[in-house]
């Protein structure tokens, strides 16, 4: 009797673990996308997860100060219009680049901040990769942490996204490489001892240890372009927004980690 009971118990345990394993396999099989986070060492993952060890949080703190500080001829701060960022900016970084209301071009998050500066605050544009712009972007992006990337279903974005996909696929530079060759066809393999990431923009702006500072997706893209010995597009070129649109769509549903830490 006991033996029988034991046998049935064992069978149930096996069945349950088999079902569990199947579930895991299905999950892994359906979505092979990996955030760069999963390819980092344990120490770096801990660094990103701990808000008091993540250097990106220093910039988030700076950004929260800028958020409340009046700027420009209008004498308005971000908070004067948008209120608390924790509610008004929630999910914003998860859907940009997008067409802001009334604009005729798509912009990325940094571009959106500068639009607000020139139109509403009547202030100077913040220079690309400047500390204040990155800090504000990090502060806004931080409010979307943990949310799935959700590109908007705006039909005006589709042609730009297609152009982004075309740039992604075209060979360029002296090394004659396309983004696809590394980040789609050979992702997960090694390049000079480093795992090639799938290039999902989940944590931007990122604190990259190599840079010893925070940087935007634009800087990362320029970095790759220089790496394949191509000429990087100008800082205000629309190509970065197109690539951003394509990459965000490619990473649709993945979780925002901003501010991320990367080697």
């Amino acid at each position: 009797m006991t033996a029988l009971r034991f046998g049935i118990g064992l069978a149930i345990v096996f069945a349950a673990s088999y079902a569990f394993a199947q579930g895991m396999a299905d999950k892994g099989g359906a979505d092979k996308r990996r955030s760069g986070y999963r390819d980092m060492g344990e120490a770096l993952q801990k660094m990103q997860d701990d808000d008091t060890a993540n250097p990106g949080m220093l910039f988030v703190q700076l950004g929260s100060q800028s958020w409340a500080k009046a700027a420009g001829a209008a004498g308005k701060s971000c908070a004067d219009c948008h209120g608390a960022a924790a509610t008004s900016m929630k999910g914003v970084a998860a859907r940009y680049p997008a067409f802001p209301k009334g604009a005729d071009t798509a912009v990325d998050l940094e571009g959106r901040i500068n639009l607000c500066r020139t139109a509403n605050q009547q202030a100077e544009k913040l220079p690309p990769e400047s500390r204040e712009l990155l800090a504000l972007a990090a502060y806004v992006a931080r409010q979307s942490r943990g949310m799935p990337i959700a590109p908007p279903a705006d039909p005006r974005l589709a042609p730009l996204r297609a152009q982004g996909a075309a740039i992604w696929a075209v060979r360029q530079g002296q090394l004659n490489l396309s983004c696809v060759i590394c980040h789609d066809d050979n992702a997960g393999k090694k390049l000079a001892g480093v795992t090639i990431p799938q290039a999902h923009p989940t944590g931007y702006p990122i604190y990259r240890l190599e840079w010893q500072t925070l940087g935007s997706l634009k800087r990362r893209l320029r970095n790759c372009l220089v790496g394949i010995r191509a000429e990087a597009y100008a800082y205000d070129a629309p190509e970065y927004v197109m690539l951003g649109l394509f990459l965000m769509d490619r990473a649709k549903g993945m979780i925002v980690e901003s501010p991320g830490v990367r080697p």
Binding site: T52, A53, P55, M57, L58, Q61, Q212, T213
Partner: protein
């Protein structure tokens, strides 16, 4: 402009070992790199970091040009009595930043 993130427990049991972590925004310019004009960028680093618990020193370190930007320091102390932990960074170009956290020992 300096910005600091400090992580220390608000309360601790008497005699317990507590970890205090501190992160500071600083370029830690080595003084060995040429700038865009070819001239050496002058050294600008944090030279010394000290921590005191009720004005008694519990930890200090000298920093060197080889330490990365935005240095992160973590150290341990024995919680003997309630009080204030003062952290102080001093460095080149008259850099002085102080930050304090209160720890209640029960």
């Amino acid at each position: 402009m300096a910005d600091v993130l400090v992580n220390a427990p608000k309360t601790a049991k008497r005699g317990a070992v507590v970890e205090i972590k501190a992160l500071i925004l600083h370029p830690m310019e080595t003084g060995f790199r040429p700038g865009p004009n070819g001239r050496i960028i002058p050294r600008n680093i944090i030279e010394r970091f000290t921590a005191t618990w009720n004005d008694a020193e519990i930890f200090s370190m000298d920093m060197s040009p080889a330490i990365s930007a935005n240095p992160f320091v973590s150290f341990f102390a024995v919680a003997a009595e309630s009080g204030v932990v003062r952290l102080r960074w001093t460095g080149d170009e008259g850099f002085v930043v102080e930050e304090q956290v209160a720890i209640a020992v029960e």
